[in-house]
Subunit: 248 residues, 2 copies
Amino acid sequence: MRNIRLNIAYDGTKYCGWQIQPRDITIQEVIEKALSKIHKKKVDLIGSGRTDSGVHADKQVANFVTDIDSIPANRFRAAINSLLPLDIRVLSSREVPLEFHSRFNAFRRTYKYYIKLADVGHPRYRDFCYLVRRPLNLNLLNDLARELVGEHDFTTFAAAGDQAPTKIRTIYSATFYPEGEFIVFKICGNAFLQRMVRSLTGTLLDFSFKGKTPEDLRFILLAKDRSLVGPTAPARGLFLNNVEYPED
Amino acid sequence: MRNIRLNIAYDGTKYCGWQIQPRDITIQEVIEKALSKIHKKKVDLIGSGRTDSGVHADKQVANFVTDIDSIPANRFRAAINSLLPLDIRVLSSREVPLEFHSRFNAFRRTYKYYIKLADVGHPRYRDFCYLVRRPLNLNLLNDLARELVGEHDFTTFAAAGDQAPTKIRTIYSATFYPEGEFIVFKICGNAFLQRMVRSLTGTLLDFSFKGKTPEDLRFILLAKDRSLVGPTAPARGLFLNNVEYPED
């Protein structure tokens, strides 16, 4: 028995998120089907965490246990890719200790949210970002984002009906910066609530457009009141950028 | 009367090329409609040349004559963009001499063709490139491409039924190089036949996969026989990158 770790990238546009759903097609399901074809039996794939419907990944991490001896660990990449649609790609495969668990061992997650001015630059990549029509105030956005760093109860930014036992999360960094033709909001934390990054992004943009202050943001964070947030930014701009493990 | 020059970028995916067609929707048509709305009468837009169905542009150049005095030349950009779909963007607008003609005055055109290995890197931008499944031999591709430089009769690479009075074109440069996650084939010439860049790209890739030599390419160029070329590369990877004028 070997435990195989996969680093995976995907264009989530057509998928109902990572995690298997009763009705809709998901990324986990598509990869499990490829694994099951290789193994000629059902294989479970453990992911580092869910990504929401329409959200992408630069690097999602998952693992599965295999009883196939004939495929070297690093060759699972090509074997799985040959059975996957082109919007999901295994970037690498390697053997990890049997104890390795993609979700429990992950200690840090990073997301990148891509924003673009609707009227500037080339329109080609607009389906992978959020087009905004007003100029961005990067200084103010970064002043607002700084308020998120540290350990906070993020109830204000949780989705309605979120079942997480605690809404306390630790944010290590949160910054806006230009990257090519985009403005990126990069946020790194121990873990995130469902839709939390999109809610944060939408609120920071909304607050910056309205000229609100870091104090205003601190206030709504402490208020634990979902009615105070801005509109949720669309899924298409969000990428799970990295998941980190002690073994990396 | 003022002559206004536009630099335009577009995602050509949904359009039947630049030039107005009786039935299908084209980029020229969409921009002319915006101009006609601003002028409250029909306005003709002159482009530097056609791009084929599905082909994109980083910089297409076009001009139109206006009798509106109230809009400064550089404000036409925003006025037109406000009436365009998001896959067509005017990058700049400025006044040029009345003699300026986007097509007749253009002395050099540059195209970029984006290629990507299907199994490497992020799948997100795969609709804007040609995915190939075999590793590329950049040295051989550049040796082959070098054969294109100079003045040649490109009958071999013309589309069936091409009506151009002469198939002689001058190529100033033609190179393959890495750009981010892509391999780009960049070709610069005085003008190009319809589908010529895609036919050249497809043939160079095909020849490189088959280990053919620069002599083989020279042979088919001289043969003026369309049956000798490789498959035409798909439109989605092709960008009109630049059009140059003496005034630039």
